[in-house]
């Protein structure tokens, strides 16, 4: 009984879908599932995994953060220009600055949501254009290219440890820390409570506004972290960096079974959702499908995932009034 329930969870189904996809590709192109290539696919998906986990925490609290890609671009641009101006600044300082700046930008979102009660979608739509615009203002639209970055700055995310680049290890670290935070700490549980039923959470003594603020700060900090990793790994910083990536991040969450109405989601789901998109993205050129198919495929995946999500949600309780459910 317990085993069948475990096997039919969202995460198990998604993992099976990814495994099936890999098996199908491997039957024609065995090189795709060689360990070296799988590491490369994971590493390529690492930014999406990190951002999807941050986004998941925000969505858990019944909010949404559309400014993640813009936060990433602004932070990436700032650290790249900082590196250009002070090439001998250690990577540890760069990392700290990136995380702090991202966290600060996330806190601006969080404050507007918490203190002024502005709907999160409006706040982050606005800050999305403002943050990206700020990246343009500080750079004047110029690129920071590979030869202008210091070697240490570029080398950090690519450094190999135990056969995997540092970027992958950071993603794994974020996954583990967030999994523990969400499952084992009071704040972690508050994220679920604040989104699952804000009124009940308030009566239980949880400050819903403050919890949302923390979620935005966390999402911003992770976006800042990815901002540095992204710029260093691709060795280029420009204003349109990661444009539109916020939708991939939301898509990864939805595919991973995170309920957009809050309160439901898991780190494993978000990671698998991101991996699902990552495997598709990396497999398309291998199986000789034009990369132009990727957008439509991820769109279709989102729609199928959200239909499955709704089905899973329905099964849990009896619906007394259909209309109220549709409203919520």
């Amino acid at each position: 009984m317990r085993l069948t329930r475990l096997l039919t969870t969202r995460e198990a189904l998604l993992a099976a879908a990814i495994a099936l996809m890999l098996a199908l590709i491997a039957s024609r192109f065995p090189a795709f599932v060689a360990p070296g290539n799988l590491v490369a696919v994971f590493n390529d998906t690492a930014p999406l995994i990190i951002l999807a986990i941050g986004q998941m925490v925000v969505i858990l609290t019944r909010c949404i953060d559309l400014s993640v890609a813009a936060t990433l671009a602004l932070t990436g641009m700032v650290v790249a220009m900082l590196n250009l101006a002070h090439p001998d600044l250690p990577v540890a300082a760069i990392l700290a600055i990136a995380v702090a700046l991202g966290c600060g930008l996330g806190m601006i979102n969080g404050l507007l949501v918490w203190k002024l009660d502005i709907p999160p979608i409006v706040v982050t739509l606005g800050t999305m254009t403002i943050y990206r615009g700020a990246a343009f203002l500080i750079s004047g639209g110029k690129w920071v290219n590979a030869h202008e970055m210091s070697d240490a700055f570029k080398a950090f995310p690519r450094t190999q440890i135990l056969g995997m680049p540092v970027m992958s290890w950071i993603a794994i670290l974020v996954v583990v820390v967030l999994a523990v935070l969400l499952a084992r700490t009071e704040t972690g549980r508050a994220f679920f409570a604040a989104g699952g039923n804000p009124d009940a959470a308030t009566y239980a003594g949880i400050d819903v506004g403050r919890t949302r603020f923390l979620a935005f700060a966390l999402s911003g900090a992770l976006a800042g972290l990815v901002g540095y990793l992204w710029v260093a790994r691709y060795a280029v910083a420009y204003v349109d960096l990661a444009a539109g990536f916020e939708l991939d991040v939301v898509a990864a969450c939805v595919i991973g079974g995170v309920a957009i109405m809050g309160g439901v989601g898991s780190v494993a789901g978000a990671v698998l959702g991101a991996l699902f998109l990552g495997v598709i993205k990396n497999a398309l050129p291998v199986i000789d499908v034009s990369p132009f198919w990727q957008m439509a495929i991820s769109g279709a995946a989102i729609i199928i995932a959200v239909i499955l999500n709704a089905k899973a949600g329905r099964a849990r309780g009896r619906i007394i009034l259909r209309q109220t459910e549709a409203v919520q």
Binding site: R62, C63, L112, P120, V122, V254
Partner: protein, 333 residues
């Protein structure tokens, strides 16, 4: 929608006596917005000597007419408590379909019919998923946003469609009389139609009722699902109209056409005083917001401000117009 906070929203005091209609009108959102529009207009005419030229002003309307046409339908949808983020992708798909048809030698009436039909079909698909399966519209339309534009990318890749018939150019480039463009006439016409639909019909009352309390609306005999489905259809149709105008104006179709417009349309609607949580808003507000956004971008354009800086201004405007009244209320207690 996301971010509702019933604990605070539920506490609303009912005043003993209503203020006089004149005072209420003076304090309304539309009045505030109109003042902002006038201020921008005056600032622009002082900042640039080219601003008050009738032809320049006429050109400026192209900044917002197509987006505003979608915004009217989107306003109704948001008032009813739903949202459609796939509008720009619908434009891309409709434009691609028109481009493909034009290659086969279809004439202008046929192209327009195809553009509108694709728009309707996209809206119907969104509406069916949201009302038929009871899915949250924000996720559904994030999905269809990728799907519709994705299909355009599959069809076109890095290519473009050109070679539209000569008389097709009228919609986006023609003038009805003197400096009044065909698009502006369409904009005014749709503003009127949607204004009547929302403010003077039973259907419009139903839209407000659903946005305020869909359960209560259902109990009072409103067919909630049907009304919402029609709103998705209307939004799709208006995206089709915008696709016809934009394709005609540009004279070509690329899969990246109208990229990012969904955000500008939503900004226009919210700036127009429509509550993103549903239940409140007006078409005159959206019309004024369209002018505000058009004037800001055009005025800054005359001053050689790059597009991305304009988008900062729009983004800041969006947050400021919502934050300032709340700050004001907080400060006054």
């Amino acid at each position: 929608m996301t971010g509702m906070n019933p604990t605070r929203a539920a506490v609303r005091t009912i005043p003993d006596r209503l203020e006089s209609p004149a005072r209420r009108a003076l304090k309304s959102w539309e009045t505030l917005l109109l003042a902002v529009a006038l201020a921008i207009f005056i600032a622009n005419s002082l900042a640039s000597p080219y601003f008050l030229d009738p032809w320049n002003l006429s050109d400026a309307t192209f900044n917002f007419t197509e987006k505003a046409m979608i915004a009217f339908a989107m306003a109704l949808l948001i008032i009813a408590g739903e949202i459609d983020l796939s509008v720009a992708s619908t434009i891309a798909l409709a434009s691609t379909a028109m481009g493909a048809a034009a290659q086969l030698g279809v004439g202008t009436p046929g192209l327009v019919a195809i553009g509108l039909a694709v728009g309707l079909a996209c809206g119907a698909f969104n509406g069916a998923l949201v009302t038929g399966l009871g899915l949250p519209s924000i996720v559904v339309t994030i999905g269809t946003m990728s799907l519709y534009r994705g299909i355009s990318y599959i069809v076109l890749g890095d290519q473009a469609y050109r070679g539209y018939p000569a008389d097709f150019a009228w919609f986006g480039q023609g003038y009805a009389f003197w400096v009044i463009s065909a698009e502006f006439v369409l904009f005014a016409l749709f503003a009127l139609l949607f204004g009547i639909l929302l403010h003077a019909t039973n259907f419009g009352r139903a839209v407000y009722a659903i946005g305020n309390n869909a359960t209560a609306a259902a109990f009072s005999g409103i067919r909630v699902g049907r009304v919402k489905f029609i709103l998705f259809l209307l939004t799709g149709l208006m995206s089709g109209v915008a696709a016809v105008c934009l394709t005609s104006r540009l004279g070509s179709t690329r899969p990246s056409i109208a990229m990012g417009w969904e955000l500008e349309v939503v900004t226009m609607v919210v700036l127009g005083g429509v509550s993103i949580l549903g239940g409140a808003g007006s078409i005159p507000g959206v019309v004024i917001a369209a002018f505000v956004m058009g004037l800001v971008t055009f005025g800054l354009g005359l001053l050689n401000v790059p597009g991305i800086v304009m988008s900062i201004v729009i983004g800041a405007l969006l947050i400021a117009v919502i934050a300032l009244p709340r700050l004001w209320r907080k400060w006054r207690g």
